[in-house]
Symmetry: C2
Subunit: 222 residues, 2 copies
DNA sequence: AAGTGGTCTAGACCACCTC
DNA sequence: AGGTGGTCTAGACCACTTG
């Protein structure tokens, strides 16, 4: 039943920008319950095909988008899932005032005190990802007691600190001398950079810039 | 009600790997209908927090993942949404046998005839994305009659060819001479590469490699 | 103010998968 | 084969938002 409603929209009965009938009318037309229509519509809405607004009705999106979903695992798991041996090295940790640009990542007007953690993730003994992270000691005081030689901040945070909001951005950057040395590559090679910033409620948790060695791929199947 | 169930799992009552009670038991405990529980569980399942299997029950995922969704718009729209002027140039189109590696993208054992389309998308007159695309003329015969000088294959396909499956991968690559010349940059600069391959049912539609000029970012907010 | 989608109920039946 | 989650129904009430 739900499949029929899906098909009806996919098949071109309604085109980009068109308004669909109210759920109840569709339910009558198909001879099914309104909640069944609601369920189908929710799926289409999740997939980015339609947009719904109370009182405004349901419209086929005017500009179709491809909505892709990616699972970003803990770095250790990502390596192990490839069948590679995982290693991890803490490079440095220190507590200091953030530069203004890091505070800005969190939408904070002024610098605050945070812990800065630099670390290297290895895959089969080869440098894999270098991460440069700031952790808000105000929101996550426990971090002071965590043995970051043994467990990466990445893993500890994912396992222990739920977040309510997360900004992610991907882009590329040529390796500078610093990154090249740590990753064992030549300066100028193309790095895959992942920036992630998380909050719990309005409280900042962490922001991290992860530099992946060339060859890194992000994959999604829909 | 749904929020209470969400909270219950987030707050650590159940940890990674734990088995949750059956939906019906949870419903009794909370004094709500089973379908309400089912709905809450579905959300958690969609977000990657739990895994459900018929007869197997519901488990908190052992290895938490960050699940991010990205909207990938039509390139023209992506440029216009930034407030930039969009331009587009068809570089070449031809019909020929695919190399073996392109056929392999589709899981085809042998080369087939496809149309190859190279094109450049510009943002405020600056080269923005260079795409190198193969379109299956068997599945999409209409493409022969489309004026690809006026509308990009990207836009025409998204608007006219629904797909049932899509593989996407992102990675980086240093610009070669060819890409550098087209994008107006120096060889060696870091490109953001998007590879997309789509099917309708078992039929191949298109595969494309899009090279984005440095500065390109992919953004998601959760 | 009214019309639309969103949530919830109480119940039935189905489909899949593990045991 | 039985137990679990998945879909569906017919209905009620709620919440948002636009005209």
């Amino acid at each position: 039943m739900r499949a029929r409603i899906h098909a009806r929209i996919l098949d071109g009965t309604y085109g980009p920008g068109d308004k669909l009938p109210r759920d109840e009318d569709i339910a009558n037309e198909f001879g099914c319950a309104r909640s069944t229509v609601q369920r189908a519509m929710r799926d289409l809405s999740d997939s980015g095909m339609i947009e719904r607004r109370r009182k405004g009705g349901t419209h086929v999106r005017f500009d179709p988008v491809t909505r892709a979903t990616f699972d970003i695992p803990i770095t250790r798991k990502e390596v192990e899932n490839k069948g590679c041996a995982y290693d991890y090295q803490l490079i440095s940790r220190s507590t200091l005032q953030t530069p203004r640009c890091i505070a800005a990542n969190f939408g904070l007007p002024a610098p605050v005190e945070m812990m800065r953690v630099k670390a290297l993730h290895l895959s089969d003994r080869q440098p894999h990802i270098y991460e440069d992270r700031w952790i808000c000691t105000g929101t996550v005081p426990e971090i002071a007691t965590v043995d970051l030689q043994r467990i990466s901040a990445n893993e500890w945070l994912v396992r222990n600190k739920p977040y309510s909001r997360c900004d992610i951005r991907f882009y590329t950057q040529q390796a500078g001398r610093h990154e090249a040395r740590l990753l064992g590559i030549e300066p100028g090679e193309a790095l895959f950079v992942t920036e992630r910033t998380t909050w719990i409620g309005a409280e900042a948790i962490t922001t991290v810039k992860a530099f992946a060695a060339p060859g890194y791929q992000l994959i999604s199947r829909i």
